[in-house]
Symmetry: C2
Subunit: 417 residues, 2 copies
Amino acid sequence: MAKSTHQTKPCADGFCFLAGLFFGLFCFWSLTLYHYKPHFGFIPFSAKASDYGAEAPILHSDPPHETFYDDPELSYFIEKPVNNWDQKRHVWLDLHPSFTAGSRDRVLLVTGSQPSVCKNPIGDHLLLRFFKNKVDYCRLHGHDIFYNDAYLHPKMDSYWAKLPIIRAAMLAHPEAEWIWWMDSDAVFTDMEFKVPLGRYKDHNLVVHGWPNMVYEEKNKSWTGLNAGVLLIRNCQWSMDLIDVWVSMGPLSPDFERWGQILTSVFKDKLFSVSDDQSSLIYLLFTNKEKWGDKTYLEGEYNLEGYWLALVGKYDTLAESYIKMERNEGVLRRRHAEKVNDWYAAEREKYLQGHERRPFVTHFTGCQPCSGEHNPQYSADSCWNEMKRALNYADNQVLKNYGFVHPELSSSEVSVVI
Amino acid sequence: MAKSTHQTKPCADGFCFLAGLFFGLFCFWSLTLYHYKPHFGFIPFSAKASDYGAEAPILHSDPPHETFYDDPELSYFIEKPVNNWDQKRHVWLDLHPSFTAGSRDRVLLVTGSQPSVCKNPIGDHLLLRFFKNKVDYCRLHGHDIFYNDAYLHPKMDSYWAKLPIIRAAMLAHPEAEWIWWMDSDAVFTDMEFKVPLGRYKDHNLVVHGWPNMVYEEKNKSWTGLNAGVLLIRNCQWSMDLIDVWVSMGPLSPDFERWGQILTSVFKDKLFSVSDDQSSLIYLLFTNKEKWGDKTYLEGEYNLEGYWLALVGKYDTLAESYIKMERNEGVLRRRHAEKVNDWYAAEREKYLQGHERRPFVTHFTGCQPCSGEHNPQYSADSCWNEMKRALNYADNQVLKNYGFVHPELSSSEVSVVI
């Protein structure tokens, strides 16, 4: 049965009856789903689409054998644990061999924002451009991307919202080895760079961070890592981590107490509410063997980089990359967007000794949607630098379409003839 | 050399120098690009990425043989024609055999919006959700999607903006057989439906339309087809069509005259400016042999459907589809999002005799970004129905993540447990 998690509010328009009807039928559907068992004689192995609908071959059939999806105990709900996930996922993958190729490196990028209109008048425009940037990166690298703009649990909003989304994405995407969460206000500023997944083969969680600020008592800081961009392996360990992580959040009866504990542990934490980032660091150092040893704190490249340290470099870096292209003909050769990866790999040879573009610029503290930015920055510097970062990234994409923003501060473009 | 198409404006911040430097270097880069010839001894056939960068195999290498990209005469600029495109594209495809599989049905969806913030306070929020909807559809069907938010020619704005974007996308994506343009205010409201490309094998352009209103003198109307959603084949015919189409638009010295001609031809056209839709219809009937015979006017399903005729059906259709799922167990089986296509094909068997979900609901006349909607609708009806359409579509996606909007008018969700 469907468990409603939405709040009751007055039905202000004329849709009450139909909405009620819809919801009732949905509940019924959920109920029948609950009792559904695969019907071996019924589900065909291959489907022939009618002339009216799909004409392309159906590549990814779903064989009738029972999988975790047929288990009525399985719930996508954040409060209900999933057990034996590695085995369940393994069975599913065995039944769907068309996903075998590349399965160890398959990434689903997940991002999102609040369901409502932004308070900041330019907030949604910025979110739109941030999303475009992520879609561009995913198109260039062949990743799937899922944008979620619903709170999957009404109490899990703000920085806690990502945990139910990541968990639901893990269940909906057993073919993906990694779920890559990226905050809405993070921008890919090197569209060519590929995350070195091979480096993380013995780890299940990758975040930008500094071991001394996470594990050493005297340096401990709630900014010892940044939880706004993370790669999490689609495995039981991650399911368990999310369960224990959620138990420090707003769904827990101990939520308030966790706020006090975290504030006393992290001397630089200036707000007393338990947040996802401090909670994660707490978990890593209080149970390093279980959580810390499987977490890779990346510091070698900007898996996420602090915008104030990076935005000033864009012009110099653009200049340096153009010089590189001038000297090495292959890098400036026009090409189809689809072969960009090949040129990115070519560039690697010439990047030795050069400063690289920052991979991800994260506008931490700018809060584009609410507009409630950290008072140490001006609103204008936040929004202007976001535009520059987005145009800097867009130049790396638009180039393949023959255009460029000659001024990073302007959306106007020029054409290469 | 780069031809600047942006307007000069005062340099209000401190970036003038670096911007100038960047632009200068860009010009130089463009200039050197102009003279670049492939260097056969230099470009390797396979690239080995360093440990720092790409680790995945580089699938799509770009062999050193000369292609149209190496032709200094090639320009992405809308004002410069491309000749022999079929042959050029064919040579490129021959040199890139990894794109052979599925090449006849490969689709790139292209959409976009204006570069600046919307005047309508909820405009950008709606655009963000419209874009999410398209990304969802493309993820479910394996299409690439490109969102463009720059005017590729400053005079080609509003409804003319799509032509330079489509043309640039054709050149940047020789691997794509079809470019699918979709206006920002069109919503996929059947996430399962696949466009029957096989039906269009003898055509190069597909738009929703009615032959009698395009070709018959007495019924001729500027709404005889809708140019907001179109499929255009990546071929010389389409290049030629775009050239002649553009010659009726704002880049033409005859732009004003075309406005007069179109207004006199279409008695129901109430504005005197030449627009892309009337121009296309004019081309189809004045040269039916060349343009009309290769254009498929689709009317059998909602390649784009008028919102006022469709939004009232969502609740009844949701109910009917849920009934269908209740009766046919396979349709309500939970599954991975990646195998959705297979379930969509299954549903085709049960859709005979049922009314289908509208494939695309197009909010023609609502103008979500400017807010300057047709006065025959209220602003609230436009924005509220957009939200309902988006939630109706989102339910078809969220279901795979275990959630649903029980009320179409609300973003709140419930979980299926």
